[in-house]
Point group: C2
Chain length 179, copies 2
DNA sequence: ACCGTTGTGAACATGAGTGTTCACGTCCTC
DNA sequence: GAGGACGTGAACACTCATGTTCACAACGGT
């Protein structure tokens, strides 16, 4: 059940970052006292949510075989379902106030950067900064999750959409565009 | 000066959505009383920030000549500098609670969707939903702003980076990738 | 049947943010 | 120089989230 509480809390706090602990507890179907017993203070709760999100994202990233040809495909497939957790990490800027969390946040996507750097020159363009490519990938994943949450996108269509846009852009084939 | 207050308030509230009005006032270099005189309640302030952001984005969008060949280029160039305002509209989900704001938010990017729809088949791929292309464009703009804010990207490089990624993706030329 | 664990609501004290008022400066205008 | 407009800090009462405690109910294992 603990897991469900964290999940609900994440979505509630994403919908309204100023939501009271009472609202969070009610949404999770649990008493405020119970919530307080598990997370003595509001910061503790936020911290726990961030830690869990980081754990999940870390697990997703390290579960991909970075040597495989389909490494990026695996990554996207793993990240899209984590939508709300990724969103949480992005939308709570003051997570960086915590030393430990801040470090994990900065280190988190190093494997992704490394993977991209290694692929630049073969599968990926070498004239773009690696961090930009990573950012583009994340943005695609996040946009896809948003589309799913809004009901505009079928979950099964998401990875394909992200990947084709990521790789090929949105230009009509045959038109040689320039910036 | 009013403009500067709104700008500062936006950045403060983005950094910490729970920031007190006192902090906002201090950051803007005005007394809390003065702030209160202009915006009697916290909601009024938020509402004013959202309205101003919407005005700026609206102005940016409607300032581009949608008939021009460089419509999208113009759009990107106009949107990137609006970074914080766009971020504000994205990161305050409960703006939708206000009837008027909600309507403006949903109507806002209709011209962009229309422009994209019109370009699909000529310059833009027709096998992707128009909303997805728009989303991809926004995501690129936002990522660019983020890069600028973090000091990783020179403001002048931003539009080019966004556009080349948007149009062509990140695939190395010569590699025929598939999703 | 007993007892530890766990979840719960009720109640309370406290602190912080908020809305409001007031009296005091400063600047500009007439 | 009188008077209004505007910004300001100090002070106040009020609300509300929060942290904390306590007594009670449900459950499971021994």
């Amino acid at each position: 059940m603990s897991v469900h509480v964290l999940e609900t809390a994440t979505s509630v706090l994403l919908r309204d970052p100023t939501a009271s602990l009472g609202e969070v507890a009610k949404a999770a179907g649990v008493g405020r006292t119970t919530l307080h017993k598990r997370f003595p203070t509001r910061s503790d709760l936020i911290h726990a949510l961030a830690t869990e999100a980081l754990d999940l994202v870390d697990a997703a990233i390290s579960s991909v075989d970075t040597g495989s040809d389909t490494a990026i495909e695996q990554l996207v497939a793993k990240l899209v379902p984590l939508g709300p957790r990724v969103e949480f990490l992005l939308r709570f800027p003051n997570l960086r106030d915590d030393e430990r969390l801040s470090m994990r946040l900065t280190v988190m996507d190093q494997p992704v950067i490394d993977l991209i750097s290694r692929l630049q020159g073969t599968r990926l363009r070498a004239d773009l900064p690696a961090w930009w490519i990573a950012q583009t990938l994340y943005a695609g994943v996040y946009s896809a999750w948003e589309g799913i949450a809004a009901g505009r996108l079928a979950p099964l269509d998401a990875p394909g959409l992200v990947l084709t846009t990521f790789y090929q852009g949105v230009s009509h084939v045959g038109a040689a565009d320039r910036s």
